[in-house]
Subunit: 363 residues, 2 copies
């Protein structure tokens, strides 16, 4: 293997793939990135056996070949080099990296030992715009669970329902659902949230379309020169749509920034009580007030002006409230509930595509 | 106690003092900040028994009084409030904090229980410009040791020698010394490096003079409306000046940015070897080259153009080299040594006020 690439391209490709490589894995080669020529392209790949990412870049290839090298060292090293041409040459299992000023030898492991994800040979295929997919994922993915004892809840559900493509995630304390547009396919995919975090990183600020292909076991996302394959989660996702309330006894519409501020201040006094804050809506005063009590430290009440219909109070985890508010993008938000014991709904005032539900705490 | 202050002033004062308060202390009141009126001023103080900081701000005082309240909660809370007037009122040991939108009650502990640092009644006094003191501390303080088993090395030495005021710090692997100007007093103070970190924070971008007063036990720094008192370290500081070499067999002058870059890249390959890199100067090629070897991962050689006199190589800890380079402010730096076993000296090419010594590793 012998070739020339630009530092910019090699650095970008390592930035896409290296994070999937993992030194904590029991298989040492999984800490490596696979570098492989193919005509005048170079592919860089990394995998943790659940997720695999490949990034293709242009290269001036003199001799074809392939090798795997430690991903983190390679990424840090190439990232520290100045702009310009980098010469790569393989000598047995040693990769020689040369620029005007720098000469390095990185010890590799033969490419034959690198695990290959099975290809998706047959399967449905469709397209989503990168910006729509990115916005939707950002609003949904954090609501997935980290608890590996209930694997389905660690997934993001991507599915069609009523001719619309929807994403949903829940950890059973909160639930986020986003409608990302019309789609007439029959889709029902449980995609690991961790893979969706990697996809978000790859989507970056790109404006390309994303091509999605799946079979029963895996799904492939193709964005520009990058491919991400992930296994699907097996299991039955809860029928979440019936959990989203549709009518409310109590509702407030207010500036998102105001609700963020009063919640942040209140949350300071809620550290002892696992984030618990009580929100009270007053139709008479047209206010939303939020109260927190720290038995040792003191207490706090904060108030914001709101358009309120109905009266009532509900106790929530302020962290979940702040998480949800941070992904709503409208100036005004609608906060609705039915009594102390039922789910609250947060929405954007000017857009019904996104629903965020938070379950109440016992007040 | 009843008064009004602006959010801006109260926030600034809490920013100065709160970090000294410490919840890990065995004495719960040391996690608190002391708030005390005095005519139309309010003082905020915190102490960890070694260091005490007091910040004075203007206030509209209706009733005099004092109380201590949890420093971290108070700082986070006041910092989250919007600009404007804050009303403080004491009700038994409860501090009521009120703005248009927010009402809080913070539980306090009576001010009588707050430890008071002994005052410096007699002692020498002199003045240094804040910018000179800040620059000097930044170049010196990180070289002090964290090892509490040799207390004198955890201090910064501030002393006069030959009519000049000098600062020095060493952890026995490296040594930094800065000359900060003429001074005819007889000064020899061992000041805890931790107190100097706090002083750096207080100095900020201020241009005030710093008034320094000391007795045998303590030293007081007064900067604008802030006072910092710290105990002094007891012990005999090593006679470091004789460790600074004055003539060299091998010397390179080169761009600081170049030396930073080649050292950073080399250090990536030095992770396995505790940062060890070998620097070689070539008079023939007029180059400085730096080499690192990671037995498992590979190796790297990087080269920079330099004005070189003499030949030779030396092995150093790349972390210490990068630390030193990050506080040199000149475009060009001078790197000098006498063979493999003696200390290297780093200096600014245009300024002889700062000496940085690094001891070699066994190559």
């Amino acid at each position: 293997m012998k070739l020339q690439v630009t530092q910019e391209n090699l650095n970008r490709a390592l930035g896409s793939v290296a994070r999937v490589a993992n030194t904590r894995n029991t298989l040492p080669i999984l800490a490596n990135v696979l570098i492989k020529t193919s005509n005048n392209r170079l592919s860089l790949s990394a995998t943790n056996l659940d997720i695999a990412i490949t990034h293709y870049i242009g290269a001036k290839v003199s001799d074809e070949g392939s090798i795997t090298v430690p991903a983190r060292l390679m990424q840090d090293f190439i990232n520290s080099l100045p702009d310009g041409v980098i010469n790569l040459q393989l000598d047995d299992s040693k990769l020689k990296i040369k620029t005007d000023q720098y000469q390095s030898t990185v010890n590799g492991i033969a490419a034959d030992d690198f695990p290959v994800m099975p290809a998706i040979t047959t399967g449905e295929s469709w397209t989503v715009s990168a910006s729509t997919l990115k916005k939707g994922l950002q609003q949904v993915v954090f609501a997935a669970s980290n608890d590996e004892t209930r694997p389905v809840l660690t997934a993001v559900l991507l599915h069609t329902s009523g001719g619309e493509l929807r994403m949903a995630a829940t950890d059973s304390y909160r639930l986020a659902e986003k409608n990302i547009g019309k789609n007439n396919n029959d889709i029902h995919l449980l995609i690991p949230a961790s893979a969706m975090h990697d996809l978000l990183r790859i989507l970056g600020d790109g404006t390309d379309d994303v091509h999605i292909t799946h079979d029963d076991q895996q799904v492939l996302f193709q964005v520009g020169d990058v491919e991400l394959v992930t296994r699907l989660v097996d299991g039955k996702y809860p029928d979440y749509q019936k959990l989203i309330p549709t009518s409310f006894s109590t509702e407030a519409t207010l500036k998102r920034a105001d609700l963020v501020n009063v919640t942040k201040v209140s949350s300071l006094f809620a550290r002892e009580s696992a984030g618990s804050v009580t929100i009270e809506l007053s139709e008479e005063n047209q206010t939303l007030s939020i109260r927190s009590v720290a038995s040792q430290l003191g207490e706090n009440t904060a108030e914001a002006t709101a358009k309120v219909s109905g009266e009532g109070s509900i106790t929530l985890n302020s962290k979940y409230l702040l998480d949800a508010l941070s992904v709503l993008s409208s100036d005004e938000v609608i906060f609705s509930f039915n009594g102390k014991l039922e789910a609250t709904l947060l929405r954007e005032a000017d857009n019904k595509d996104y629903n965020h539900i938070i379950m109440p705490l016992k007040g």
